[in-house]
Symmetry: C2
Subunit: 623 residues, 2 copies
């Protein structure tokens, strides 16, 4: 050996020692925090301690003082129940202190049972804990990095149990299709799930074969051999495909009383066992490591806004088309705007954006979970991300949307083809539960414009909204009822007809039915006030309470199921400040629709002008 080799050899021995020591520390700290909490997942943390130690010490290039920098590598803990391991690693890099570590799972602690971002935890950018969602999030981060010309990489730690989720494989397919090389998934193959052995045990080859079949570079290693881990991470960075590292590990590794034993999932060690375990792992350590530095990165100069006029409509247009045209306009106004499509861009009209900004348009194919997961990853890296599909098919990603709300993600969603008004395609394509589902999401804004000009203003407003926002669009063309310069504040409403005999409250397609009904009622001498509740959440409580007080009869009409939609939102607003004044009648979809024309189906559902007129007449006679 010459000098250089000896040096290299010594350094490698040093590094190996450090990695092993650090892994032991992460294991010990995972045990300490969970035993202190009295609950949690120490064994699921121990299996990945070596994988995480080598990653944080030598591969995850991060500026801890600038955790949101696009230059940083990203780590996504897809197996979110191994949160104690993540917190132990954050302690090892000096991001959190030991006191915080030992506050695990306590009320008010920034370090929860499963990772969730918060002001005191800027190194965690997304929420995990519902399994199988990390790969799509990582894909989105990698796509954003490519767009930003950052040299960053994304490392996703996944469990073997969660690999049963189809969301893992659809994200892998999308990553291969998009030729993402900066994404590495590390599969912690610890053989044991929550309630016994996993489907494939320690058969690493199964996962290697599948990853390869999905277009990935794949290799398998001993997940407790730090040199092998280091080599695998290097190999991942050198391949031009996304890489899957299948790491055979032991659940509870290093603690002989629990290692590779069933029955220890999600259980903190009792204090005596914790003591023995820590002794077996070599006791407490206080290693602090400095993660490797990210590659220098310069933000590209922002382009000047195109300054083109916003779309404006005087003729009938489908709000879904106005949505697409608004995105096309916004493409010239905002550099950071990206759009994701679920292979229906010619129906939602995101294709209008694609035409002018193809590099910021991401085709996620028929894979809604990946679409929302990737969107979550992209917004974590600062993108203003819109995603669109049929409203009915957003239900496919409801769990992802729920998790993104926990992660304080800014998702801008569009669901097209609302309600029975889509007509002939039938119920599988009709969004009828979307408002109920989205209203229940924490912090969500739910918008439902009735014409093209309202759509332009509301979609433009969404670009500036935080948290989840949702715009519901209509398949068929609707007449322009607003002037292009009309403003549409979030939480507002529009009174389109005055009147104190009855208030017709609607949004989207049923607003047009309400206007027709109001005209017909006027001919009978019944003055119907018409309210456009384009902002379903937050809703304009003041206008609704005034309408109820001044008319004594509120009829809510919506192309949605009777539960959880506009009608329930109106009732909630009316009840929120004391006694409900007057009567409220809800017209909505009660039964299961079939095919038919939009007009036939609205008549069948009892949400068309005829039904409104009949309801008002009956109610006024009864009242």
């Amino acid at each position: 050996m010459d000098d250089v080799d000896i040096e290299d050899h010594r350094e490698r021995i040093d590094r190996t020692q450090l990695w092993n020591e650090l892994a032991a520390q992460l294991a010990v700290d995972s045990i300490r925090s969970t035993t202190e909490a009295g609950s949690g997942h120490p064994t699921s943390s121990l299996s990945a301690a070596h994988l995480t130690a080598v990653l944080f010490a030598d591969h995850l290039r991060t500026d801890l003082h600038d955790p949101r920098s696009p230059a940083n590598d990203r780590f996504v803990l897809s197996k979110g129940h191994a949160a104690p391991l993540l917190y132990a690693a954050l302690k090892a890099v000096g991001a959190i202190d030991d006191e915080t570590l030992l506050s695990l799972r306590r009320f008010g602690s920034p370090i929860q049972g499963h990772p969730a971002p918060g002001p005191a935890l800027p190194w965690v950018e997304v929420a995990t804990g519902s399994l199988g969602q990390g790969p799509a999030i990582g894909l989105g981060m990698a796509l954003a990095m490519r767009l930003d010309e950052s040299a960053g990489r994304v490392w996703v730690l996944i469990g073997d149990s969660e690999s049963a989720e189809g969301s893992v494989w659809e994200a892998m397919e999308a990553a291969a299709h998009h030729r993402i090389s900066a994404l590495t998934c590390v599969l912690d193959l610890n053989r044991l799930g929550q309630r016994g052995p996993t489907m494939h045990g320690w058969d690493a080859d199964v996962f290697v074969r599948r990853a390869e079949a999905f277009g990935w570079h794949a290799l398998s290693i001993d997940g407790h051999d730090v040199a092998a881990i280091d080599a695998a991470y290097r190999a991942a960075t050198e391949d031009d495909r996304p890489t899957m590292i299948v790491a055979r590990t032991e659940k509870g590794h290093g603690v002989s009383e629990v290692a590779d034993r069933d029955g220890w999932h999600g259980k903190a060690f009792p204090p005596e066992l914790a003591e023995r375990a820590i002794r077996e792992l070599g006791g407490l350590r206080s290693i602090t490591i400095t993660p490797p530095k990210p590659e220098p990165w310069m933000p590209a100069g922002a382009r000047a806004p195109a300054g083109a006029p916003a779309p404006a409509y005087t003729e009938p247009i489908a709000t879904r088309k106005a949505f697409g045209e608004t995105l096309r306009w916004l493409a010239g106004e905002r550099d950071g705007l990206v759009v994701l499509d679920g292979e229906v861009g010619n129906s939602t009209y995101t294709e209008d954006f694609e035409t002018v900004a193809p590099e910021r348009f991401f085709q996620m194919y028929i894979a809604e979970q990946t679409m929302i997961g990737a969107q979550t990853g992209m917004q974590a890296l600062g993108k203003t991300a819109f995603a669109a599909t049929f409203g009915a098919f957003l239900t496919r990603a409801y769990d992802q949307i729920r998790m993104s709300a926990i992660g304080r993600a800014d998702l801008r969603l569009c669901g097209s083809h609302a309600g029975v008004s889509i007509g002939e395609d039938g119920p599988s394509q009709m969004a009828l539960e979307d408002i109920a589902a989205l209203r229940a999401i924490h912090g969500a804004t739910v918008l439902y414009p009735a014409d093209g000009n309202a759509t332009v203003r509301l979609v433009a407003a969404m670009a500036d909204l935080r948290d989840i926002s949702y715009v519901r669009t209509t398949r068929e063309a609707t007449p322009a009822i607003y002037a292009p310069e009309e403003g549409f504040p979030i939480g507002g409403s529009k009174t389109l007809r005055p009147g104190n005999d009855v208030a017709l409250v609607a949004a989207g397609i049923t607003l047009h039915e309400s206007l027709i009904a109001a005209d017909r009622l006027a001919a009978d001498g019944i003055a119907a006030r018409v309210l456009d509740c384009y902002s379903v959440k937050p809703i304009d409580g003041d206008a609704l309470r005034a309408a109820a007080a001044e008319t004594g009869l509120v009829v809510v009409i919506e192309d949605h199921r009777i539960e959880g939609g506009l009608g329930d939102a109106v009732l909630d607003a009316l009840a929120s400040e004391g006694t409900v004044t007057g009567r409220v009648v809800k017209l909505a979809v009660h039964d299961m629709p079939g095919s038919g024309s939009p007009e036939e189906l609205r008549a069948w559902a009892g949400i068309d002008a005829d039904a409104i007129v009949a309801t008002v007449r009956t109610a006024l006679v009864r009242g």
Copy 2:
């Protein structure tokens, strides 16, 4: 050649002619029905015409007069937009007539834009049209057949675009794991999606490699070569693994003006084009085929019910545990009861059922979409199927639940770990949107028992309910408040405390907080009525309206988001028969929870006894 060979050769020529003629008829009829409707998906039908013709003529063993027989093979059109092809095939076997065929997509027609079961269409057992759901449904059917010792087989026709859905791959993994040989997926590789080329074009090898990596027998063929199709179907029946047949096809095959051309997805041919297309396909035909007969099948003799006593509780027990013990009891009472688990059986306590009826317990691992899809398939074959996971993770299968409602499926769902009351694990594991989501499902029953005895009665009632039913269970033990013999009618409620000063309306965990609050209010001389709304949908409107009328103040307390849950259900009930009497105050979860103890989190959310007492005092002072 000897005689037999000549005979065989002739027969094969005859058969080949028949298949090709039949395929042409299916293509022609798909064009006729969609052109008549003015919308629909003729080109997606044409690509699979040969695949379907050979299947219906010689492989799909069906007794058309007994379409629900467990002996029958099953056909699931996962690519539901090719519905015209299915209807054309049903016409060819004599199940529907030409008049019905030409009623496609019309209001009131049994043959909708996408397949949905109905009284006039008993040959369609499940709804499809939200993509990627067929394989899991097929898996469930095949599992039911195996349980029934039927020799039936399941054939699932899937599209290439929908293969981007992770649900396809998770179902494939489960099918291989469960060693299902009676399931064949035929992939119509027509290269074109809704808005352009699919991800993999005509690369059949990609799908073959993946299917093999997922443990399937796989082969690729020319999807317009009827002899190759026939051979592939035979090969599928001879293998002991599930089989994927990747069939390279042309979208719009046989019509030169549209074949393999982009821009023709979901478009009916204009009449002149339809005429030319039908001419090119050889004109109208009226072939009627008799499908092959199913193998004889004898139902196994029903075992006598065990007659064991139902579980009964006097001590505190978690309702999730009572759920599991009820299933264990029902296992002895009902032969056809099956239970599906999403790898959390030791949390939901479906493991109690597994212990006594392992052959009727199906481990679907962490794959909720497959769990619900398979459940849908099993109930289609007559099983009384329960599926359980954390309520939070049922959101992962919300689209599948939505589609099952369209398919009039009887799904019995349990969501455990309701609300912030789970404590330390944090929001990713908390069901907080589940009631909103499930209430919005057509025909769903939503139940939320507060103690063990109520759970026993309600879960037993679910076994007899049609459509979707959902029981929400609690992680922590709750005291027994009901006697074991107490009845719990669906749509009912229980008044646990009389009182006319205020009505506390709750369900599940918050009922216990309400009882504590009522006792404390009583000490102040405030008589609080306490209502247990264990039946959230349908809800006991009469009791609620009486409570509102008699007290003038209703406080609804729920461990769920403020939107779409019990509070909205109560408001709806109060408004449904005229003016809302009195005030309604809703206590529910408004903000994003973190970790903490159940008690801390209920206090934080303002849904514990303290919050109830404070709310009532404030309201009564204000009132």
